[in-house]
Protein backbone atom coordinates (compact mmCIF):
# COMPACT_ATOMS: atom_id res chain seq x y z
CA UNK A 1 0.00 0.00 0.00
CA UNK A 2 1.45 3.35 -0.98
CA UNK A 3 1.97 6.07 1.56
CA UNK A 4 -0.70 8.14 -0.17
CA UNK A 5 -3.43 5.54 0.19
CA UNK A 6 -2.40 4.97 3.80
CA UNK A 7 -2.78 8.66 4.43
CA UNK A 8 -6.19 8.73 2.76
CA UNK A 9 -7.38 5.77 4.83
CA UNK A 10 -6.07 7.55 7.91
CA UNK A 11 -8.13 10.64 7.03
CA UNK A 12 -11.29 8.66 6.34
CA UNK A 13 -11.16 6.57 9.48
CA UNK A 14 -10.43 9.51 11.77
CA UNK A 15 -13.30 11.43 10.19
CA UNK A 16 -15.63 8.49 10.79
CA UNK A 17 -14.58 8.50 14.44
CA UNK A 18 -15.48 12.18 14.74
CA UNK A 19 -18.80 11.50 13.03
CA UNK A 20 -19.71 8.72 15.49
CA UNK A 21 -19.26 11.16 18.32
CA UNK A 22 -21.41 13.70 16.54
CA UNK A 23 -24.10 11.04 16.08
CA UNK A 24 -24.04 10.26 19.80
CA UNK A 25 -24.30 13.89 20.87
CA UNK A 26 -26.88 14.56 18.16
CA UNK A 27 -29.23 12.00 19.72
CA UNK A 28 -28.72 13.52 23.16
CA UNK A 29 -29.76 16.96 21.94
CA UNK A 30 -32.53 15.60 19.75
CA UNK A 31 -34.15 13.58 22.54
CA UNK A 32 -33.79 16.29 25.16
CA UNK A 33 -34.78 18.99 22.70
CA UNK A 34 -37.90 17.06 21.74
CA UNK A 35 -38.99 16.68 25.35
CA UNK A 36 -38.23 20.33 25.97
CA UNK A 37 -40.14 21.69 22.98
CA UNK A 38 -43.15 19.46 23.49
CA UNK A 39 -43.17 19.84 27.24
CA UNK A 40 -42.50 23.53 27.77
CA UNK A 41 -45.83 24.53 26.19
CA UNK A 42 -47.85 22.59 28.73
CA UNK A 43 -45.96 23.47 31.85
CA UNK A 44 -48.18 25.55 34.07
CA UNK A 45 -48.79 26.20 37.70
CA UNK A 46 -51.60 23.68 38.10
CA UNK A 47 -49.27 20.89 36.97
CA UNK A 48 -47.37 21.29 40.22
CA UNK A 49 -50.26 21.88 42.63
CA UNK A 50 -53.32 20.01 41.34
CA UNK A 51 -54.38 16.40 41.36
CA UNK A 52 -54.93 14.53 38.08
CA UNK A 53 -58.35 14.87 36.41
CA UNK A 54 -60.18 11.94 34.82
CA UNK A 55 -59.73 11.51 31.06
CA UNK A 56 -61.75 13.96 29.04
CA UNK A 57 -61.79 16.55 31.78
CA UNK A 58 -59.27 19.23 30.96
CA UNK A 59 -56.88 20.70 33.49
CA UNK A 60 -55.47 19.17 36.62
CA UNK A 61 -51.88 18.35 37.43
CA UNK A 62 -49.51 15.75 38.74
CA UNK A 63 -48.75 17.24 42.16
CA UNK A 64 -49.39 13.93 43.93
CA UNK A 65 -46.99 12.15 41.59
CA UNK A 66 -44.23 14.69 42.21
CA UNK A 67 -44.64 14.26 45.96
CA UNK A 68 -44.87 10.49 45.48
CA UNK A 69 -41.56 10.40 43.60
CA UNK A 70 -39.96 12.47 46.36
CA UNK A 71 -41.27 10.14 49.07
CA UNK A 72 -40.16 7.02 47.18
CA UNK A 73 -36.72 8.46 46.53
CA UNK A 74 -36.17 9.65 50.09
CA UNK A 75 -37.24 6.36 51.68
CA UNK A 76 -35.17 4.42 49.12
CA UNK A 77 -32.12 6.57 49.95
CA UNK A 78 -32.62 6.09 53.68
CA UNK A 79 -32.41 2.34 53.12
CA UNK A 80 -30.00 2.14 50.20
CA UNK A 81 -27.34 4.71 51.11
CA UNK A 82 -26.27 3.34 54.51
CA UNK A 83 -26.33 -0.29 53.40
CA UNK A 84 -24.49 0.50 50.18
CA UNK A 85 -21.84 2.44 52.11
CA UNK A 86 -21.44 -0.38 54.61
CA UNK A 87 -20.88 -2.84 51.74
CA UNK A 88 -18.15 -0.57 50.39
CA UNK A 89 -16.60 -0.27 53.86
CA UNK A 90 -16.60 -4.04 54.20
CA UNK A 91 -14.81 -4.33 50.87
CA UNK A 92 -12.17 -1.63 51.38
CA UNK A 93 -11.60 -1.39 55.13
CA UNK A 94 -11.82 -4.98 56.33
CA UNK A 95 -9.89 -7.85 54.85
CA UNK A 96 -12.72 -10.29 54.36
CA UNK A 97 -11.29 -12.46 51.57
CA UNK A 98 -13.97 -14.47 49.77
CA UNK A 99 -16.85 -12.45 51.19
CA UNK A 100 -15.32 -9.25 49.86
CA UNK A 101 -14.75 -10.83 46.46
CA UNK A 102 -18.36 -11.96 46.25
CA UNK A 103 -19.87 -8.68 47.35
CA UNK A 104 -17.65 -6.83 44.90
CA UNK A 105 -18.61 -9.20 42.11
CA UNK A 106 -22.32 -8.96 42.90
CA UNK A 107 -22.25 -5.15 43.09
CA UNK A 108 -20.61 -5.13 39.67
CA UNK A 109 -23.22 -7.49 38.24
CA UNK A 110 -26.16 -5.72 39.87
CA UNK A 111 -25.02 -2.30 38.63
CA UNK A 112 -26.51 -2.92 35.21
CA UNK A 113 -29.05 -5.57 36.11
CA UNK A 114 -32.59 -5.32 34.62
CA UNK A 115 -34.53 -3.21 37.10
CA UNK A 116 -37.77 -4.83 35.98
CA UNK A 117 -36.68 -8.09 37.61
CA UNK A 118 -36.03 -6.26 40.85
CA UNK A 119 -39.59 -4.97 40.70
CA UNK A 120 -40.90 -8.51 40.13
CA UNK A 121 -38.81 -9.76 43.04
CA UNK A 122 -40.08 -7.11 45.43
CA UNK A 123 -43.59 -7.95 44.27
CA UNK A 124 -43.08 -11.52 45.47
CA UNK A 125 -41.51 -10.69 48.82
CA UNK A 126 -43.41 -7.53 49.82
CA UNK A 127 -46.55 -7.00 47.74
CA UNK A 128 -47.86 -10.58 47.94
CA UNK A 129 -47.41 -10.93 51.73
CA UNK A 130 -48.83 -7.45 52.37
CA UNK A 131 -51.64 -8.16 49.91
CA UNK A 132 -51.35 -4.63 48.53
CA UNK A 133 -49.12 -2.45 46.40
CA UNK A 134 -47.37 0.06 48.60
CA UNK A 135 -44.96 2.97 48.71
CA UNK A 136 -42.80 0.80 50.94
CA UNK A 137 -42.49 -1.87 48.24
CA UNK A 138 -41.60 0.78 45.66
CA UNK A 139 -38.98 2.29 47.96
CA UNK A 140 -37.43 -1.08 48.65
CA UNK A 141 -37.22 -1.85 44.93
CA UNK A 142 -35.52 1.51 44.33
CA UNK A 143 -33.18 1.00 47.27
CA UNK A 144 -32.03 -2.32 45.80
CA UNK A 145 -31.31 -0.51 42.53
CA UNK A 146 -29.34 2.15 44.45
CA UNK A 147 -27.28 -0.33 46.45
CA UNK A 148 -24.69 -1.29 43.83
CA UNK A 149 -24.35 2.29 42.55
CA UNK A 150 -23.69 3.61 46.06
CA UNK A 151 -21.45 0.70 46.98
CA UNK A 152 -19.33 1.10 43.86
CA UNK A 153 -18.87 4.85 44.04
CA UNK A 154 -18.19 4.74 47.78
CA UNK A 155 -15.68 1.94 47.30
CA UNK A 156 -13.83 3.92 44.65
CA UNK A 157 -13.76 7.05 46.82
CA UNK A 158 -12.62 5.18 49.93
CA UNK A 159 -9.78 3.64 47.94
CA UNK A 160 -8.57 7.13 47.04
CA UNK A 161 -7.97 7.95 50.71
CA UNK A 162 -4.30 7.18 51.39
CA UNK A 163 -3.48 4.55 54.01
CA UNK A 164 -1.26 7.10 55.74
CA UNK A 165 -4.36 9.11 56.71
CA UNK A 166 -5.86 6.07 58.42
CA UNK A 167 -2.55 5.38 60.14
CA UNK A 168 -2.35 8.95 61.41
CA UNK A 169 -5.64 8.37 63.21
CA UNK A 170 -4.66 4.93 64.52
CA UNK A 171 -1.41 6.38 65.85
CA UNK A 172 -3.45 8.88 67.86
CA UNK A 173 -5.26 5.99 69.54
CA UNK A 174 -8.46 6.35 67.54
CA UNK A 175 -10.33 3.04 67.14
CA UNK A 176 -10.79 1.73 63.63
CA UNK A 177 -14.52 2.35 63.44
CA UNK A 178 -14.15 5.95 64.51
CA UNK A 179 -11.28 6.36 62.08
CA UNK A 180 -13.54 5.15 59.28
CA UNK A 181 -16.52 7.30 60.31
CA UNK A 182 -14.69 10.47 61.25
CA UNK A 183 -11.56 10.50 59.12
CA UNK A 184 -11.84 8.21 56.10
CA UNK A 185 -15.44 8.94 55.10
CA UNK A 186 -15.12 12.73 55.51
CA UNK A 187 -11.94 12.63 53.40
CA UNK A 188 -13.83 10.71 50.71
CA UNK A 189 -17.01 12.73 51.06
CA UNK A 190 -16.99 14.51 47.71
CA UNK A 191 -16.83 11.23 45.81
CA UNK A 192 -19.43 9.63 48.04
CA UNK A 193 -21.84 12.56 47.70
CA UNK A 194 -21.35 12.53 43.92
CA UNK A 195 -22.23 8.83 43.88
CA UNK A 196 -25.33 9.42 45.98
CA UNK A 197 -26.53 12.18 43.66
CA UNK A 198 -26.05 9.98 40.61
CA UNK A 199 -27.84 7.10 42.32
CA UNK A 200 -30.73 9.37 43.30
CA UNK A 201 -30.97 10.73 39.75
CA UNK A 202 -31.02 7.19 38.45
CA UNK A 203 -33.82 5.86 40.66
CA UNK A 204 -35.94 8.97 40.15
CA UNK A 205 -36.18 8.03 36.50
CA UNK A 206 -37.07 4.38 37.10
CA UNK A 207 -40.46 3.21 35.88
CA UNK A 208 -40.38 -0.57 35.45
CA UNK A 209 -39.65 -1.51 39.08
CA UNK A 210 -42.48 0.73 40.32
CA UNK A 211 -45.22 -0.69 38.10
CA UNK A 212 -45.76 -3.73 40.33
CA UNK A 213 -44.61 -2.31 43.65
CA UNK A 214 -45.81 1.21 44.39
CA UNK A 215 -48.26 0.90 41.45
CA UNK A 216 -50.14 4.17 41.05
CA UNK A 217 -52.50 6.44 42.93
CA UNK A 218 -54.29 9.44 41.52
CA UNK A 219 -54.96 10.91 44.97
CA UNK A 220 -52.73 12.32 47.65
CA UNK A 221 -51.05 9.58 49.65
CA UNK A 222 -48.46 9.91 52.35
CA UNK A 223 -48.71 6.40 53.70
CA UNK A 224 -45.97 3.84 53.17
CA UNK A 225 -48.44 0.98 53.24
CA UNK A 226 -50.66 2.25 50.43
CA UNK A 227 -50.09 2.51 46.68
CA UNK A 228 -48.53 5.82 45.72
CA UNK A 229 -48.35 7.79 42.50
CA UNK A 230 -45.00 8.60 40.95
CA UNK A 231 -43.90 10.87 38.13
CA UNK A 232 -42.58 8.04 36.01
CA UNK A 233 -45.59 5.73 36.28
CA UNK A 234 -47.91 8.68 35.65
CA UNK A 235 -45.92 9.72 32.59
CA UNK A 236 -45.90 6.12 31.34
CA UNK A 237 -49.68 5.85 31.68
CA UNK A 238 -50.30 9.25 30.15
CA UNK A 239 -47.87 8.81 27.27
CA UNK A 240 -49.39 5.49 26.24
CA UNK A 241 -52.96 6.77 26.59
CA UNK A 242 -55.10 7.84 23.61
CA UNK A 243 -55.97 11.27 25.10
CA UNK A 244 -54.17 14.31 23.71
CA UNK A 245 -54.49 16.22 26.95
CA UNK A 246 -52.82 13.37 28.87
CA UNK A 247 -50.04 13.07 26.31
CA UNK A 248 -49.33 16.77 26.62
CA UNK A 249 -49.19 16.42 30.39
CA UNK A 250 -46.86 13.46 29.90
CA UNK A 251 -44.43 15.67 27.99
CA UNK A 252 -44.67 18.49 30.50
CA UNK A 253 -44.03 16.06 33.36
CA UNK A 254 -41.23 14.38 31.42
CA UNK A 255 -39.59 17.77 31.02
CA UNK A 256 -39.78 18.32 34.78
CA UNK A 257 -38.31 14.86 35.39
CA UNK A 258 -35.55 15.25 32.80
CA UNK A 259 -34.63 18.66 34.20
CA UNK A 260 -34.30 17.31 37.74
CA UNK A 261 -32.21 14.37 36.59
CA UNK A 262 -29.94 16.45 34.37
CA UNK A 263 -29.40 19.07 37.04
CA UNK A 264 -28.54 16.37 39.58
CA UNK A 265 -26.05 14.86 37.14
CA UNK A 266 -24.46 18.19 36.35
CA UNK A 267 -24.17 19.21 40.00
CA UNK A 268 -22.69 15.80 40.76
CA UNK A 269 -20.12 16.27 38.03
CA UNK A 270 -19.16 19.76 39.19
CA UNK A 271 -18.95 18.53 42.76
CA UNK A 272 -16.74 15.62 41.75
CA UNK A 273 -14.34 17.88 39.88
CA UNK A 274 -13.77 19.84 43.08
CA UNK A 275 -12.25 16.71 44.63
CA UNK A 276 -9.27 17.31 46.87
CA UNK A 277 -9.78 21.05 46.99
CA UNK A 278 -8.38 21.33 50.51
Amino acid sequence: MSYRTRKIINRIMLTISVITFLIGSFFLFWILGDVFLKGIRYINFSLFVELPKPPGVLGGGVANAIVGTLILTIVASLIGVPIGMMIAIAITEYHLGKLAWWSKFLTEVLTSFPTLIIGVFVYTIIVIPMKTFSALAGSIALSIIMLPVIAKSTEESLKMVPISVREAAYALGVPKWKTILRVVIPSASSGIVTGIMIAVARVMGETAPLLFTSFNNVYWSFSLTKPIGSLTVTIFNYATSPYDDWRNKAFASALVLAAIILILNIIARIYASKKGKH
Binding site: T20, I117, A208
Partner: protein, 302 residues
Protein backbone atom coordinates in the same frame (compact mmCIF):
# COMPACT_ATOMS: atom_id res chain seq x y z
CA UNK B 1 -10.72 -1.85 79.85
CA UNK B 2 -12.18 -4.38 77.49
CA UNK B 3 -11.31 -4.35 73.81
CA UNK B 4 -13.28 -1.90 71.76
CA UNK B 5 -16.89 -2.99 71.55
CA UNK B 6 -17.56 -0.28 68.94
CA UNK B 7 -15.11 -1.90 66.54
CA UNK B 8 -16.82 -5.25 66.84
CA UNK B 9 -20.29 -3.80 66.24
CA UNK B 10 -19.13 -1.75 63.28
CA UNK B 11 -17.31 -4.62 61.63
CA UNK B 12 -20.36 -6.77 62.28
CA UNK B 13 -22.55 -4.24 60.48
CA UNK B 14 -20.20 -4.16 57.50
CA UNK B 15 -20.20 -7.95 57.26
CA UNK B 16 -23.97 -7.96 57.70
CA UNK B 17 -24.40 -5.54 54.79
CA UNK B 18 -22.23 -7.72 52.54
CA UNK B 19 -24.14 -10.85 53.54
CA UNK B 20 -27.39 -9.00 52.93
CA UNK B 21 -26.29 -8.30 49.37
CA UNK B 22 -25.46 -11.94 48.76
CA UNK B 23 -28.68 -13.05 50.43
CA UNK B 24 -30.58 -10.60 48.25
CA UNK B 25 -29.29 -12.11 45.03
CA UNK B 26 -29.90 -15.66 46.28
CA UNK B 27 -33.46 -14.90 47.40
CA UNK B 28 -34.08 -13.04 44.15
CA UNK B 29 -33.17 -16.21 42.29
CA UNK B 30 -35.08 -18.52 44.62
CA UNK B 31 -38.28 -16.50 44.62
CA UNK B 32 -38.32 -16.47 40.80
CA UNK B 33 -37.75 -20.23 40.77
CA UNK B 34 -40.46 -20.93 43.33
CA UNK B 35 -43.06 -18.84 41.54
CA UNK B 36 -42.10 -20.40 38.22
CA UNK B 37 -42.71 -23.97 39.39
CA UNK B 38 -46.40 -24.27 38.30
CA UNK B 39 -45.49 -23.09 34.82
CA UNK B 40 -42.40 -25.30 34.60
CA UNK B 41 -44.47 -28.30 35.74
CA UNK B 42 -47.28 -27.60 33.30
CA UNK B 43 -45.35 -26.70 30.17
CA UNK B 44 -41.87 -28.06 30.81
CA UNK B 45 -39.35 -27.47 28.07
CA UNK B 46 -42.15 -26.72 25.61
CA UNK B 47 -42.51 -23.30 27.26
CA UNK B 48 -39.36 -22.21 25.47
CA UNK B 49 -40.44 -23.27 21.98
CA UNK B 50 -44.18 -22.64 22.06
CA UNK B 51 -45.49 -19.64 20.17
CA UNK B 52 -48.94 -19.43 21.74
CA UNK B 53 -49.72 -16.96 24.51
CA UNK B 54 -53.39 -17.39 25.27
CA UNK B 55 -54.65 -16.22 28.67
CA UNK B 56 -58.19 -17.35 27.84
CA UNK B 57 -57.14 -20.97 27.28
CA UNK B 58 -54.46 -20.56 29.99
CA UNK B 59 -51.73 -21.70 27.59
CA UNK B 60 -48.41 -19.93 27.55
CA UNK B 61 -45.32 -20.15 25.38
CA UNK B 62 -42.26 -17.93 25.57
CA UNK B 63 -40.83 -18.24 22.08
CA UNK B 64 -42.07 -14.92 20.64
CA UNK B 65 -40.82 -13.07 23.71
CA UNK B 66 -37.41 -14.76 23.65
CA UNK B 67 -37.16 -14.24 19.92
CA UNK B 68 -38.13 -10.57 20.17
CA UNK B 69 -35.68 -9.98 22.99
CA UNK B 70 -32.83 -11.58 21.07
CA UNK B 71 -33.61 -9.88 17.76
CA UNK B 72 -33.95 -6.38 19.23
CA UNK B 73 -30.88 -6.76 21.46
CA UNK B 74 -28.57 -8.08 18.76
CA UNK B 75 -29.84 -5.48 16.34
CA UNK B 76 -29.05 -2.85 18.98
CA UNK B 77 -25.56 -4.28 19.49
CA UNK B 78 -24.99 -4.38 15.73
CA UNK B 79 -25.75 -0.66 15.46
CA UNK B 80 -24.30 0.53 18.77
CA UNK B 81 -21.02 -1.39 18.81
CA UNK B 82 -19.24 0.33 15.89
CA UNK B 83 -20.58 3.74 16.88
CA UNK B 84 -19.48 3.25 20.48
CA UNK B 85 -16.00 2.17 19.47
CA UNK B 86 -15.80 5.21 17.21
CA UNK B 87 -16.81 7.46 20.10
CA UNK B 88 -14.31 5.79 22.41
CA UNK B 89 -11.55 6.28 19.84
CA UNK B 90 -12.57 9.89 19.32
CA UNK B 91 -12.51 10.75 23.01
CA UNK B 92 -9.42 8.80 23.96
CA UNK B 93 -7.25 9.38 20.86
CA UNK B 94 -8.43 12.45 18.99
CA UNK B 95 -10.16 14.92 21.31
CA UNK B 96 -8.00 17.68 22.80
CA UNK B 97 -7.17 16.95 26.44
CA UNK B 98 -9.11 19.87 27.88
CA UNK B 99 -12.28 18.74 26.11
CA UNK B 100 -12.06 15.03 26.90
CA UNK B 101 -14.02 15.34 30.12
CA UNK B 102 -16.75 17.45 28.56
CA UNK B 103 -17.14 15.03 25.65
CA UNK B 104 -17.24 12.02 27.97
CA UNK B 105 -19.85 13.82 30.04
CA UNK B 106 -22.05 14.43 27.00
CA UNK B 107 -22.04 10.74 26.15
CA UNK B 108 -22.58 9.79 29.79
CA UNK B 109 -25.60 12.09 29.93
CA UNK B 110 -27.09 9.97 27.18
CA UNK B 111 -26.96 7.14 29.72
CA UNK B 112 -28.54 9.27 32.42
CA UNK B 113 -31.73 9.92 30.45
CA UNK B 114 -34.49 7.75 31.92
CA UNK B 115 -35.62 4.91 29.71
CA UNK B 116 -39.14 6.30 29.91
CA UNK B 117 -38.05 9.40 27.99
CA UNK B 118 -36.36 7.24 25.38
CA UNK B 119 -39.66 5.40 25.09
CA UNK B 120 -41.60 8.61 24.54
CA UNK B 121 -39.16 9.82 21.94
CA UNK B 122 -39.34 6.41 20.30
CA UNK B 123 -43.10 6.37 20.27
CA UNK B 124 -43.73 9.92 19.12
CA UNK B 125 -40.67 10.72 17.00
CA UNK B 126 -38.81 7.61 15.89
CA UNK B 127 -41.80 5.33 15.16
CA UNK B 128 -43.46 7.75 12.73
CA UNK B 129 -40.06 8.34 11.15
CA UNK B 130 -39.53 4.61 10.66
CA UNK B 131 -43.01 4.26 9.27
CA UNK B 132 -42.83 7.14 6.80
CA UNK B 133 -39.16 7.69 5.97
CA UNK B 134 -36.63 5.14 7.20
CA UNK B 135 -38.76 2.08 6.49
CA UNK B 136 -39.68 2.93 2.91
CA UNK B 137 -36.09 4.03 2.27
CA UNK B 138 -34.63 0.74 3.47
CA UNK B 139 -37.27 -1.12 1.51
CA UNK B 140 -36.28 0.66 -1.67
CA UNK B 141 -32.66 -0.45 -1.35
CA UNK B 142 -32.84 -3.75 0.55
CA UNK B 143 -36.45 -4.71 -0.07
CA UNK B 144 -35.41 -8.03 -1.59
CA UNK B 145 -34.14 -9.29 1.78
CA UNK B 146 -36.56 -11.25 3.98
CA UNK B 147 -35.78 -8.91 6.89
CA UNK B 148 -37.49 -5.99 5.22
CA UNK B 149 -40.78 -7.38 4.00
CA UNK B 150 -44.23 -5.95 4.55
CA UNK B 151 -45.47 -2.52 5.38
CA UNK B 152 -43.49 -0.71 8.13
CA UNK B 153 -45.93 0.00 10.95
CA UNK B 154 -43.60 2.26 12.86
CA UNK B 155 -43.57 0.22 16.01
CA UNK B 156 -41.74 -3.08 15.86
CA UNK B 157 -38.38 -4.84 16.08
CA UNK B 158 -36.50 -2.24 14.05
CA UNK B 159 -37.69 0.74 16.07
CA UNK B 160 -37.02 -1.09 19.34
CA UNK B 161 -33.56 -2.07 18.11
CA UNK B 162 -32.70 1.52 17.20
CA UNK B 163 -33.91 2.86 20.56
CA UNK B 164 -31.96 0.19 22.39
CA UNK B 165 -28.84 0.95 20.38
CA UNK B 166 -28.90 4.59 21.46
CA UNK B 167 -29.46 3.50 25.05
CA UNK B 168 -26.47 1.15 25.16
CA UNK B 169 -24.02 3.48 23.39
CA UNK B 170 -22.97 5.13 26.68
CA UNK B 171 -22.41 1.77 28.36
CA UNK B 172 -20.18 0.40 25.62
CA UNK B 173 -18.38 3.62 24.76
CA UNK B 174 -17.48 4.71 28.28
CA UNK B 175 -16.09 1.30 29.17
CA UNK B 176 -14.20 1.06 25.90
CA UNK B 177 -12.84 4.56 26.42
CA UNK B 178 -11.46 3.60 29.82
CA UNK B 179 -9.87 0.53 28.33
CA UNK B 180 -8.33 2.47 25.42
CA UNK B 181 -6.98 5.12 27.76
CA UNK B 182 -5.36 2.41 29.85
CA UNK B 183 -3.15 1.35 26.93
CA UNK B 184 0.28 2.75 27.78
CA UNK B 185 1.61 5.71 25.78
CA UNK B 186 4.88 3.95 24.96
CA UNK B 187 2.94 1.35 22.97
CA UNK B 188 1.61 4.13 20.76
CA UNK B 189 5.01 5.78 20.48
CA UNK B 190 6.53 2.50 19.38
CA UNK B 191 3.97 2.45 16.55
CA UNK B 192 4.66 6.01 15.48
CA UNK B 193 8.38 5.34 15.58
CA UNK B 194 7.82 2.60 12.99
CA UNK B 195 6.27 5.16 10.65
CA UNK B 196 2.63 4.20 11.20
CA UNK B 197 -0.16 6.69 10.56
CA UNK B 198 -2.41 7.66 13.43
CA UNK B 199 -5.15 5.32 12.26
CA UNK B 200 -2.68 2.45 11.91
CA UNK B 201 -1.49 3.03 15.45
CA UNK B 202 -5.08 3.11 16.69
CA UNK B 203 -6.29 0.09 14.77
CA UNK B 204 -3.24 -2.13 15.09
CA UNK B 205 -1.61 -1.12 18.35
CA UNK B 206 -4.27 0.43 20.58
CA UNK B 207 -7.28 -1.64 19.55
CA UNK B 208 -5.09 -4.72 19.39
CA UNK B 209 -4.11 -4.19 23.00
CA UNK B 210 -7.65 -3.44 24.10
CA UNK B 211 -9.43 -6.14 22.09
CA UNK B 212 -10.58 -8.36 24.92
CA UNK B 213 -11.72 -5.43 27.05
CA UNK B 214 -13.77 -3.95 24.23
CA UNK B 215 -15.31 -7.35 23.64
CA UNK B 216 -16.38 -7.43 27.29
CA UNK B 217 -17.81 -3.91 26.94
CA UNK B 218 -19.91 -5.10 24.01
CA UNK B 219 -21.17 -8.06 26.01
CA UNK B 220 -22.14 -5.71 28.82
CA UNK B 221 -24.03 -3.53 26.36
CA UNK B 222 -25.85 -6.60 25.10
CA UNK B 223 -26.77 -7.50 28.66
CA UNK B 224 -28.25 -4.04 29.19
CA UNK B 225 -30.27 -4.28 25.99
CA UNK B 226 -31.72 -7.67 26.97
CA UNK B 227 -33.06 -6.31 30.24
CA UNK B 228 -34.30 -2.92 29.05
CA UNK B 229 -38.01 -2.68 29.76
CA UNK B 230 -40.06 0.49 29.50
CA UNK B 231 -38.66 2.02 26.32
CA UNK B 232 -38.92 -1.28 24.47
CA UNK B 233 -42.45 -1.88 25.70
CA UNK B 234 -43.53 1.46 24.28
CA UNK B 235 -42.23 0.81 20.78
CA UNK B 236 -42.25 -2.97 20.21
CA UNK B 237 -45.92 -3.10 19.18
CA UNK B 238 -46.99 -5.87 21.55
CA UNK B 239 -47.99 -8.48 19.02
CA UNK B 240 -47.57 -12.10 20.08
CA UNK B 241 -45.98 -13.61 17.05
CA UNK B 242 -42.69 -14.22 15.37
CA UNK B 243 -41.75 -12.55 12.16
CA UNK B 244 -38.50 -12.49 10.30
CA UNK B 245 -39.28 -9.01 9.01
CA UNK B 246 -37.83 -6.29 11.20
CA UNK B 247 -40.75 -4.06 10.28
CA UNK B 248 -43.18 -6.31 12.13
CA UNK B 249 -44.42 -5.64 15.63
CA UNK B 250 -43.54 -8.22 18.24
CA UNK B 251 -43.02 -8.74 21.96
CA UNK B 252 -40.02 -9.04 24.24
CA UNK B 253 -39.69 -10.74 27.61
CA UNK B 254 -39.81 -7.39 29.37
CA UNK B 255 -42.75 -6.05 27.37
CA UNK B 256 -44.83 -9.15 28.10
CA UNK B 257 -44.10 -8.84 31.82
CA UNK B 258 -44.91 -5.12 31.90
CA UNK B 259 -48.14 -5.45 29.94
CA UNK B 260 -49.53 -8.57 31.59
CA UNK B 261 -48.20 -8.60 35.12
CA UNK B 262 -50.68 -6.21 36.68
CA UNK B 263 -53.61 -8.15 35.27
CA UNK B 264 -52.14 -11.59 36.01
CA UNK B 265 -55.00 -12.99 38.07
CA UNK B 266 -54.59 -16.68 37.43
CA UNK B 267 -51.84 -18.61 39.18
CA UNK B 268 -50.60 -20.17 35.96
CA UNK B 269 -50.33 -16.86 34.13
CA UNK B 270 -48.42 -15.27 36.98
CA UNK B 271 -46.17 -18.31 37.03
CA UNK B 272 -45.54 -18.11 33.29
CA UNK B 273 -44.56 -14.46 33.68
CA UNK B 274 -42.27 -15.40 36.57
CA UNK B 275 -40.65 -18.01 34.39
CA UNK B 276 -40.03 -15.32 31.76
CA UNK B 277 -38.43 -13.20 34.46
CA UNK B 278 -36.36 -16.20 35.52
CA UNK B 279 -35.13 -16.74 31.96
CA UNK B 280 -34.16 -13.06 31.76
CA UNK B 281 -32.48 -13.26 35.17
CA UNK B 282 -30.38 -16.26 34.22
CA UNK B 283 -29.38 -14.87 30.83
CA UNK B 284 -28.43 -11.41 32.06
CA UNK B 285 -26.76 -12.74 35.21
CA UNK B 286 -24.59 -15.08 33.19
CA UNK B 287 -23.77 -12.40 30.62
CA UNK B 288 -23.07 -9.65 33.15
CA UNK B 289 -21.21 -12.06 35.39
CA UNK B 290 -19.04 -13.18 32.51
CA UNK B 291 -18.29 -9.65 31.33
CA UNK B 292 -17.71 -8.24 34.82
CA UNK B 293 -15.58 -11.17 35.87
CA UNK B 294 -13.57 -10.74 32.71
CA UNK B 295 -13.07 -7.03 33.38
CA UNK B 296 -12.44 -7.51 37.11
CA UNK B 297 -9.78 -10.09 36.36
CA UNK B 298 -8.07 -7.75 33.94
CA UNK B 299 -8.03 -4.95 36.46
CA UNK B 300 -6.65 -7.23 39.16
CA UNK B 301 -3.90 -8.36 36.78
CA UNK B 302 -2.87 -4.80 36.07
Amino acid sequence: MSKNIGDKIFKGLAIFASLLLILLVISLFLSLVIYSIPSIKKFGFKFLIDKIWDPVADKYGALPAIYGTLVTSFLALLIAFPISIGIAIFISELAPIFLKRLFSFIIELLGAIPSLIYGMWGLFVLAPLVQLKIGPFIQKILGFLPFFQGYPMGVGYLTAGIILSIMIIPTISSLSREILMAVPIDQREAGYALGMTKWEVISKVVLGNARSGIFAAGILGLGRALGEAVAVTMVIGNFHDISISLFSPGVTITSVIINQFAEATGELKLSALMELALILFLTTFLIMGFARYYILKRIVKE
